[in-house]
């Protein structure tokens, strides 16, 4: 779930991290009132769930409350990357001595949160990491063991920060890490965290993303931020035609479950895969043996013939996919014979020869004897549990890529 900046700032504030005396409004006249309360130069920032605000004219500086009102009126009318602003944030223009970056992000590969810190704040951390890697400190921490401020201190020190800045930033990064854990975040970022000329530190911007599965546990926070259930996860992901087709097939029948993803996949190996982590394992196995999947999928929960058929048809309809690999780890509730019928039916209805189209069928488990009879009838290469997922994936890659070469 994504948060607007004004919500992210509130989350940061609740965690005990110093923030500026900002105000959020959807009304230009109120922006003037907030600017007057702040009493000095202000920054008016569009509240949109997209990047590129500054370039698009969504961030403007004002010296007077009247100017703040005029800027707010303009920004409230400004669409950025197709996003209407939720409102504007009126922020005091800070007397910045130096900007820093701090963030905590979920590292999927390490399966642990990763702290990041840099003394080069205000710009993308990816750019800093690439151009000035010695200015970025990193450190994983556990989601189970207690968090220690010392871990935050090490990360900051690794970025070359010493003295008062190190002492002041340590509890802030520690609180950010704790906030990340307490609120089921995938991303908790403050960029920049600014050192002001009076020596204090304050968060000038924040980005937060909560794990969707954590939303149930975080109802109190979501409610406190004034976010209604109708807003959902606020994700702007646009499903592909393939993904929509698979969803429609899944929704049409309550039996079993199928999912299909192809965002980021541009290969030619169609995958009908699943069962107890089998999808991830098999996708990795295909890739690691040089294969290029055309999609990711999950099939399980004892789908109907129609559902298995629908998934196979959707995969075979993708550009460049001539063959599919039908592979699962050992199944118990999903029936081998039903899946076999489904994928064969898909081939036949598309006018394809199942023996040529199904590169390999490796689903051992419930009703496999019946399934193997069906596969025999259509001359399809299949294997039982004596063939590992790795080997089955390798055979599929060799068959599909070998013929393409």
């Amino acid at each position: 779930m994504r948060f607007f900046e004004y919500e992210a700032r509130e989350i940061v504030k609740r965690a005990g991290i110093p923030v500026t005396d900002y105000g959020f409004t959807t009304d230009a006249a109120e922006a003037k009132t907030i600017a007057a309360r702040i009493g000095g130069p202000t920054v008016i920032k569009s509240q949109v769930l997209t990047g590129g605000r500054m370039k698009a004219g969504g961030v403007k500086f004002a010296d007077t409350p009247e100017e703040a009102e005029a800027h707010a009126a303009d920004i409230l009318e400004l669409e950025i990357n197709g996003h209407e602003p939720r409102g504007v944030l009126v922020d005091p223009k800070a007397d910045v001595k130096q900007e820093y970056y701090m963030g905590v992000v979920w590292d999927g590969a390490a399966k642990r949160p990763l702290m990041l810190f840099s003394d080069m704040g205000g710009i993308d951390i990816e750019q800093v990491a690439e151009e000035h890697p010695d200015h970025v400190g990193r450190g994983h921490f556990s989601t189970l063991d207690p968090f220690s401020d010392f871990m935050a201190k090490q990360v900051i020190a690794d970025a070359g920060v010493t003295g008062k800045a190190l002492q002041r930033c340590t509890p802030i990064l520690a609180r950010l890490a704790q906030l990340f854990l307490d609120n089921d975040m995938l991303l908790a970022e403050i960029n920049p965290i600014a050192e002001l000329h009076d020596g204090t530190f304050v968060a000038l911007d924040a980005h937060m993303e909560m794990e969707n599965e954590g939303m149930g546990r975080q109802k109190a926070l979501i409610k406190a931020l004034g976010i209604g259930a109708e807003e959902g996860t606020r994700e702007t992901y646009v499903p592909s035609a393939f993904e929509e087709a698979v969803s429609a097939v899944d929704a049409a029948d309550h039996r079993g479950v199928i999912q299909g993803k192809d965002n980021g996949f541009d290969g030619t190996i169609g995958l009908i895969i699943g069962a107890g982590g089998g999808s991830l394992t098999l996708t990795d196995a295909v890739r690691q043996q040089g294969g290029k999947p055309a999609n990711y999928s999950e099939i399980g929960g004892n789908p109907s013939v129609a559902k298995a058929c629908g998934l196979a048809k959707a995969v075979l309809a993708k550009d460049g996919v001539e063959k599919i690999a039908v592979m699962m780890s050992i199944v118990s509730n999903t029936r081998v014979d039903i899946v076999a019928r489904g994928v064969i039916k898909a081939c036949l209805e598309l006018g394809k020869d199942p023996a040529e189209t199904i590169a390999i069928f490796r689903i051992p488990g419930a009703w496999e004897e019946e399934g193997f009879k069906i596969l025999d009838k259509y001359g399809i290469e299949y294997c039982d549990r004596s063939v590992s997922l790795w080997e089955a994936a390798g055979r599929a890659v060799a068959k599909i890529q070998g013929e393409a070469a």
Binding site: A306, I344, K377, Y378
Partner: protein, 80 residues
């Protein structure tokens, strides 16, 4: 009456096809709705035949020899 799909065939002996009570019973027990009970007897939904899960409940619900489920991928072998 016999109807075949790709993998499965279903047969209801002619002498039972006009039995509405049997049609209702088969409709009730079949988990994938292959049989439809009509006012005049039994009908078979051709589109559902390949969803047959080979449970045999139709055999149990019908008089002996009244229905047959045929595995077309096994040279038409009957389920029972």
């Amino acid at each position: 009456m016999r109807k075949d799909a790709i993998f499965i065939g279903v047969e209801v002996k002619d002498e039972y096809t006009s039995d509405p009570a049997l049609g209702a019973k088969l409709n009730e027990v079949c988990p994938v709705n292959i049989y439809r009970g009509t006012e005049t007897g039994v009908d078979i939904d051709e589109a559902a035949i390949d969803e047959c899960v080979l449970c045999g409940l139709c055999y149990d619900a019908a008089p002996e020899g009244a229905v047959a489920v045929l595995k077309l991928y096994e040279d038409g072998a009957a389920l029972r």
